[in-house]
């Protein structure tokens, strides 16, 4: 069964800290991994990773994929209270390419 597992499930840090969120996957015929940020409502897209070892960056957020070890990390440096959210990773499996299998999410709380 295809699955995506995230850790930790919950993380509380102080503003300014750096955090690393983990996502491991077991997906047949892996093609890509996606990261989303969910605040109060709709998840919003952060990154899509397809190639191993190539870092994607957007401001203070960066992500990298390791296809050999089947995981991805999402780093956030100099965290701000606005980074508080649930971070979701997902991957499309071989069967039913038009769906994403989501992890259970990491709830990140940034305290001032």
């Amino acid at each position: 069964e295809d699955k995506v597992v995230q850790s930790p499930l919950s993380l509380v840090v102080h503003e300014g800290d750096t955090v690393t969120l983990n996502c491991s996957y077991e997906v047949t015929n892996f093609r890509s991994l996606l990261w989303y940020k969910q605040e109060k409502k709709a998840p919003t897209f952060l990154f899509m990773l397809t190639s191993s070892g190539i870092e994607k960056k957007s401001g203070r957020l960066s992500s990298i994929l390791d296809k050999k070890e089947l995981f991805s990390i999402l780093n956030i440096t100099a965290t701000q209270t606005g980074d508080s959210a649930v971070y979701l990773c997902a991957a499309p499996p071989l069967q039913g390419a038009q769906k994403l299998v989501f992890g259970q999410g990491t709830r990140l709380t940034i305290n001032p």
Binding site: R31, S32, L34, Y36, Q38, K41, A42, P43, T44, F45, M48, V86, L88, A90, P92, G96, A97, Q98, K99, L100, V101, F102, Q104, G105, R107
Partner: protein, 112 residues
């Protein structure tokens, strides 16, 4: 302009009732989805439509019936509502298979 819009945003109803949630996207995407997010924030695919045709039906009870009158609309009708149907239902669309999902803001269904 809202890219993916769902109505209603909140729905409170009694067990046994029938209800519908509507979704529209103005992104010109061919593929639309319904996802269910439970209280633990787990997002699970329910249905996927590609160009008005049902592509994915993920072991969802047949009390749930999606309908796609055209590729910009995907509605969800639920018969004989049960307590366990309480969740947030997200509509989404994507341009390419396995690509970035654009989510609506969700419809929070509470069954009493």
């Amino acid at each position: 302009d809202t890219a993916v819009s769902q109505t209603p945003k909140y729905l409170v109803t009694q067990m046994g009732n029938d209800k519908s949630i509507k979704c529209e996207q103005n992104l010109g995407h061919d593929t639309m989805y319904w996802y269910k997010q439970d209280s633990k924030k787990f997002l699970k695919i329910m249905f996927s439509y590609n160009n008005k045709e049902l592509i994915i039906n993920e072991t969802v009870p047949n009390r749930f019936s999606p309908k796609s009158p055209d590729k910009a609309h995907l509605n969800l009708h639920i018969n004989s509502l049960e307590l366990g149907d309480s969740a947030v239902y997200f509509c989404a669309s994507s341009k390419v298979v396995g690509g970035e999902l654009f989510f609506g803001e969700g419809s929070r269904l509470t069954v009493l």
